[in-house]
Symmetry: C2
Subunit: 347 residues, 2 copies
């Protein structure tokens, strides 16, 4: 297999995640002081695409560890309808790799107008978004040369995790973040196993990706990679939502990716996994836990067991690799997905 730029960017993640922690930890401490001076009872996050998946992760992290509810902004209320809600008591966070999408910018500008604190998470210090926000966390991911976000997604996740530990002044959880780069390195070694599954699924046209809790984001991100790279109709679900209707689509041999690292949601995921197997679905399980792995027709065994809240950092890796390899098997170009551009300027 030729070495694509995308494959290189996937492989760079350990180094870039370590660099992010070095570069931004002190800045995030300063940001937290600024946030503590404001009267924040919930967080509003504006984001699209992979960044929106990082926002979904933030929903779980800020609620669990900071007791802060997160409302995902609906940017059209700001950019098209011009009927933004009152943001009293809210912190506004905008997540955008490029920092250029007008609709995301509109949410930050409204936050400024309403005098609530605004924070941008972006890869570009001189982007419109970074210039507009009160506070900025830079991703330090380097230029992402391919269209599909990989290293910029995991640095956004890490920005959310770091902010949460700093807001809670939780040194133990902060130390756990330092384990991520090595865990990602070891997870990248799954590549040979992932290639086998990609070979088996080389004809795939649709699939379902299931996660829950912290790994709801992982399901969304893997599904997005499969869509934008391999043109697979990949739909993400929480295991609970999946049972409220969509379960009906499952036929014999239907490809399912079940994201089930050790955690509080395991029982639920295992129960759903068994129902899927009983219906004859072709289930690939991503987990570090034998009971979950045994459900699958194939298993992708995560070599490191991180704390559940950090498991998306490793669980997403086999999904990134799978999307890459299925794309290559199908004869598509992983570096240049059709119809997409790197910076998507939606209003």
């Amino acid at each position: 297999m030729t070495q694509s730029i995308l494959f290189n960017e996937i492989s760079q993640q350990p180094e870039i995640l370590a660099r992010f922690l070095d570069a931004e930890s002190a800045n995030v401490e300063r940001i937290v002081k600024q946030i503590h001076r404001a009267d924040v009872s919930y967080i509003t996050i504006a984001a699209r695409g992979s960044s929106d998946n990082a926002a979904t992760y933030a929903k779980y992290v800020f609620a669990s560890f900071n007791r802060l509810p997160v409302a995902l902004a609906t940017p059209s209320l700001y950019s098209i309808y011009h009927t933004p809600p009152r943001l009293t008591n809210s912190l506004v966070i905008a997540i955008s790799q490029s920092g250029e999408s007008p609709d995301i910018l509109a949410v930050v500008e409204e936050g400024k107008r309403q005098n609530v604190p605004t924070l941008a998470v972006t890869n570009f210090a001189d982007s419109p978004l970074a210039r507009a926000a009160d506070m900025v966390i830079l991703q330090h991911a380097g230029e992402e040369k391919t269209i599909a976000a990989t290293k910029t997604f995991t640095t956004q996740l890490l920005a959310m995790a770091l902010l949460s530990t700093a807001l809670a002044n939780d040194e133990e959880r902060r130390r756990d973040l330092d384990k991520i780069p090595d865990a990602v390195t070891r997870t990248l070694a799954l590549d040979a196993n992932v290639q086998q599954i990609a070979e088996r699924w080389r004809e795939m046209t649709s699939c379902v990706v299931i996660g829950r809790g912290y790994n709801y984001t992982t399901a969304f991100e893997i599904a997005l990679k499969l869509k934008e790279l391999a043109y697979v109709i990949a739909e993400p679900f929480s295991s609970a939502d999946f049972m409220h209707g969509p379960f009906a689509i499952i036929e014999h041999g239907f490809p399912i990716i079940l994201i089930a690292p050790t955690g509080m949601v395991n029982d639920d995921l295992i129960a759903v996994g068994k129902k899927l197997r009983d219906k004859g679905a072709d289930v690939v399980v991503v987990s570090d836990m034998r009971e979950a792995l045994e459900i699958g027709n194939s298993a992708l065994t995560l070599p490191v067991s991180l704390a559940e809240w950090l498991s998306p950092f490793t669980a997403v890796i086999p999904g990134q690799l799978l999307a890459h390899h299925v794309t290559a098997h199908k004869g598509y170009d992983p570096d240049h997905p059709r119809g997409l551009t790197k910076v998507t300027r939606t209003v």
Copy 2:
């Protein structure tokens, strides 16, 4: 075509929506007085399946007309992780036809523990959810004998719309609600056109449904009906999110449903619709607006132009009918989707 129970329930909607307004308007006025006594700066909504789509509608309505942001609850934080966020300044709304799902109930119970106002929207006065909440809006939809929600979905939408008009004490918007039953009746007359499209799409296995703003919910609900009834891998998108990656999946002949009634988001939807047509997608447009309808390979012309915020009530109707007819063409039973039960008890 045999008259299924589902088709009857779809057809009952005008009558049931009118009955809901008669039965609940006074109650909702009382509820609003109770809410006004609390210090509410945002709303938390817990829901799954079609009810979650009603919650998405509520996000737009409460932000636009009541300036209240909506945070969709992540029930697993309450029911599995037991790390619920602080709900200070929030009103908690739970939407559940059956009122029986434990995870949705857990959110209301936590709201009670934290002493914030809680409101249940349900079809069953004696359900655990109705018994737990401080306030109840009953749907009065009658028993829904089939598994796929249709009349219970539109009564949930109407509950959100009615609550919004009452909270804002907006008599003009309240009067507009009275136009809905007749508009739905007239929209049901699209059935013959929908049957033609269902005939053309009888082999469909996947599709994308696109809406934005108020009709983001319509896209989600139509996609859910196609999944649970016709076993179509139907994925819903906002037109903006769709351009951030998923656009890549589109191939020649790919079925797209574009929900574009007259409204502020039309320019955006028309631009996306043209790009889809240029890629050779098979676009069906649901709209009352010539410029939008002309984009499609097929047009479903909404016979009534409601105010944009009420357009989901009519725009969803052709989607319900389409899901029904494609299901029948495929030889499946619209009244008994495989693998589903009416009450889904997820934790």
